[in-house]
């Protein structure tokens, strides 16, 4: 995925993250319905979504109201590890803008805004594309959760439970999008992580399977670099 030299930041942001935002809104509908089912008020649901802004962590901790605080904290930290890694990656892409802009940008680091910054090839446009994509996705997420909470009674509980897997479909599409945003030689670099974590989860706790999968992926990247497979791809 490359950027046309004269394309505006708005156009580029929506090309990268326009449909991610709407997809996030659909995912937000499900989260809003789940919050309603868990007994959360509309205000609490919207506040939670607006401030935390990461569906994976929010879905994970939603049923954990009666669990020890350290368990909730570690679960949220663990599920948000990918945000940690995306933030490290973004530090290299956005370091050229004034520090206060970077501080304001940190809360909208999410899969879609990270991919938009990664895919944008013009350095001077990266921050604008990242910010527009992040705000667009944030707006869809918050509005989606509010609408989902309001419309929860229209959706059978069994359907909401069935749709919980839609998060996995979303992740699958994100990976396919990453494959288009990085050099072709490294497009499928995450496949070892997928295979190893999946196989390991059959015989090990999920968190061990996750770490094994992540470690395998990092090892594959390092091995690929050692053989000259990766290069600077963002101009």
């Amino acid at each position: 995925m490359s950027t046309a030299p004269d394309e505006s930041a708005f156009h580029a942001a929506f090309r990268f993250a326009g449909s991610i935002g709407i997809g996030t809104g659909i995912f937000g509908l499900l989260y809003g319905a789940a919050c309603n089912g868990a007994g959360l008020s509309l205000v609490a649901t919207v506040l939670f979504s607006a401030a935390v802004f990461t569906g994976a962590a929010q879905f994970t901790v939603l049923p954990m109201t009666d669990v020890a605080w350290i368990t909730v904290f570690l679960a949220a930290l663990f599920v948000s590890l990918r945000l940690f890694l995306m933030s490290i990656s973004l530090g290299g892409h956005l370091s050229h803008v004034p520090w206060w802009k970077q501080v304001l940008a940190v809360p909208i680091i999410i899969d879609g805004s990270w991919i938009a910054a990664l895919a944008e090839t013009r350095w001077r446009m990266k921050f604008a594309v990242f910010t527009i994509a992040g705000l667009w996705i944030w707006t869809n997420w918050v509005v989606g959760t509010a609408l989902g909470h309001l419309a929860a009674s229209l959706v059978p509980r069994s359907a909401v439970e069935a749709l919980a897997f839609s998060g996995a479909i979303f992740l699958g599409m994100l990976l396919a999008m990453v494959a288009r945003a990085v050099p072709a030689t490294r497009a499928w670099h995450w496949l070892p992580s997928l295979a190893v974590s999946g196989a390991a989860s059959l015989v090990m706790p999920l968190w061990v399977a996750f770490l094994l999968g992540l470690g395998t992926g990092i090892a594959a990247i390092v091995a690929g670099q050692a053989t000259g497979g990766a290069g600077r791809h963002d101009g």
Binding site: A51, L85, G92, S95, A162, H189
Partner: protein
Amino acid sequence: MDSSFASMFLLTLVAVVLCRAGGYAIGLLLPDRAGLRAALDLVPACAIAAVLGPRLVAATPLALVAFAVGVTLFLWRREFVVPLVAGCGVLILPEVVAVPAWLLTPLQP
């Protein structure tokens, strides 16, 4: 907002802020070497894949069909909405038509 939810909210918020701000600070401090930066750009997808792998292994055949439909449509159309809606459509198929029981039984015992 009851106290149990309020504490869950705050704990999650602190964890997520730590991940975002901590990661970003580390990203700023790392040396600007092209090879290192290119590698760091690839790592987050490994984390996404490591989350996804166990979910696919534990999924029902119907969920795997929904996944295949969603990702295939995404690769074809290069946008998120139609593939996600189509995948969700497959997931809620049992709500509207009778599907064989084996489609709703996870592959992993």
